[in-house]
């Protein structure tokens, strides 16, 4: 409801945002797709011309791709399981009548604000290092052989770091959702004779379902792109043991200078992300009726 003049003005006001985002979305993506069908290496300038599906066959056919795909799924899945279950638990705990709720919230949310490389380095040196990490000390105190986590369990170690970063996010969102549940509804359930477990399953969980969905979808988008944590800790190794798709593209394209193959990997990453995005958009879109 507005005049034609306002609507025209509105279009002008939106134009810069729409134009820059349009360019940002289309130009690089088209280039990636174009490169993915080219023979293009920064080291070997002789390699040129149309490559057909060769880059895709090379990337997807390589065992490192399968491993990176499995690692990506393990990383995303592992972190999601830890953060959703842990987040629900912590959110329920913080929602209880406790002393110092404000300070607790701040403590719990803090890891989310730690930049990824710092998070990775804190864990790498302060906790997981076999010589002077906290776990190393702990194992020694118990008379056990300290574990070199990044060498023996590289992917697991990365999952722990990433989960630590994202647990606060899940907790905060689930806590916000929990607190939007009206006290009256809880009291009504109590009056109806529901005990704590019944209340959790029949009142709290249905109310939280939407928030949990959103946590899962948004985290998935970010977790598919985990990069700095790997770069700083294992560098994708040993071998390809902790390389995910995002890091594989970086390794192939930037480190090995194979633009064609790197681009093919990039296109695959875009396709995977789009599948997740499709569901997220539907969940967010439902909320957009205004």
């Amino acid at each position: 409801m507005a005049t034609q003049q306002t609507n025209t003005l509105a279009r002008v006001m939106m134009a810069p945002a729409v134009i820059v985002l349009l360019i940002w979305m289309i130009v690089p993506l088209v280039m990636t797709i174009w490169f993915s069908f080219q023979n293009y290496s920064l080291i070997n300038p002789m390699m040129t011309g149309f490559a057909g599906w060769a880059n895709y066959i090379y990337v997807i056919g390589d065992p490192s791709f399968t491993q990176a795909l499995v690692n990506t799924l393990l990383l995303v899945g592992g972190v999601l399981i830890i953060t959703v279950i842990g987040g629900t638990f912590i959110a329920l705990l913080l929602d209880q009548p406790i002393w110092g709720q404000g300070i607790l919230r701040i403590l719990v949310i803090s890891p989310f604000f730690v930049m990824p490389p710092v998070a990775a380095l804190i864990w790498k040196n302060g906790f997981l290092h076999p010589g002077y990490g906290m776990f190393g000390h702990l194992f020694k105190m118990l008379g056990l052989q300290p574990v070199d986590w990044f060498a023996q369990y590289p992917l697991f170690s990365i999952i722990v770091i990433v989960a630590w970063q994202w647990l606060p996010f899940a907790t905060l969102i689930l806590l916000t959702a929990l607190q939007s549940l009206s006290e009256e509804q809880r009291e009504a359930a109590e009056m109806d004779g529901a005990n704590a477990i019944n209340r959790f399953w029949y009142i709290i969980m249905p109310h939280m379902a939407r928030a949990i969905t959103i946590v899962i979808l948004i985290q998935t988008i970010f977790l598919l792109g985990i990069f700095a944590e790997i770069r700083v800790t294992t560098g994708g190794g040993p071998g390809y043991a902790s390389t995910n798709i995002a890091f594989l593209v970086f390794r192939t394209g930037i480190l090995s200078n194979d633009i064609g193959a790197g681009s093919a990997g990039g296109v695959v990453a875009v396709i995977i992300a789009n599948i997740v995005a499709f569901f997220l958009m539907r969940a967010v879109g439902k909320n957009l009726d205004a």
Binding site: M14, A17, F35, P111, V118, G126, I218, A228, V276, G285
Partner: protein
Amino acid sequence: MARKVSTQTRIGFTIGAWVVALLLFSPILWTALTAFKTEAEAIASPPTFWPQTFTLENFSAVQERSDYVKHAINSIIVALGSTLLGLAIGIPAAWAMAFAPTKRTKDVLMWMLSTKMMPAVGVLIPIYLIFRDLRLLDTVHGLTIIMTLINLPIIIWMLYTYFKEIPVDILEAARMDGAELWNEIVHVLVPMAIPGIASTLLLNVILAWNEAFWSITLTSGRAGTLTAFISSFSSPQGLFLAKLSAASLLAIAPILLMGWFSQKQLVRGLTFGAVK
């Protein structure tokens, strides 16, 4: 919170919650403490909790060796610059979508959101090549542009949800009072939306500050931000634990403070208004 519970239950929950919270916070606490220890004490076994000899030399060493201040300034320029640029583009766009919606507004919003879903690696290679050809690699302004683009959808979405809460009557009253568009936005909309705009600014500064993918891949020594700077410590380990902790503490402290203030808005911003 008017639930009545016994004091025992309350004590139990309180202890449980504090244990969990401190466990989650311990890596940060540990880093902060280690930053004030000497290198020898930092790797001593068994470890000490409180620094035995309280020292500030790690901080000065970090500055001397690797020019912490330069990277911090780069981070500030990129984070603030990209956020302000994003607000300049985002406020008019959010105004248009909130107050002059058309049938396509919802689609445009969803499409903007979808650009945020595009994985960075999908466009890393062309951006890298474009930056190389335009000599934008390792420049502060180049990184600022990228940061603006990746955070613009979040900025527009947050502003949109805040603007939606302002009754359109008030903007119409301004129009009736003789205000042209510029005055309507500057004298009425922006002052009314100041809390929302401030939250948007805060959250986006945080996100830009912590962004690691593009700053690591597109910068090195000259335009490196703190994320790139800290990443460069990944190789020399061992003896540097205390200095590394000092550098880490410096890098996260300002943003941690901002984050504590903006935690409520964080929810709205990162869920695109789906959870309030």
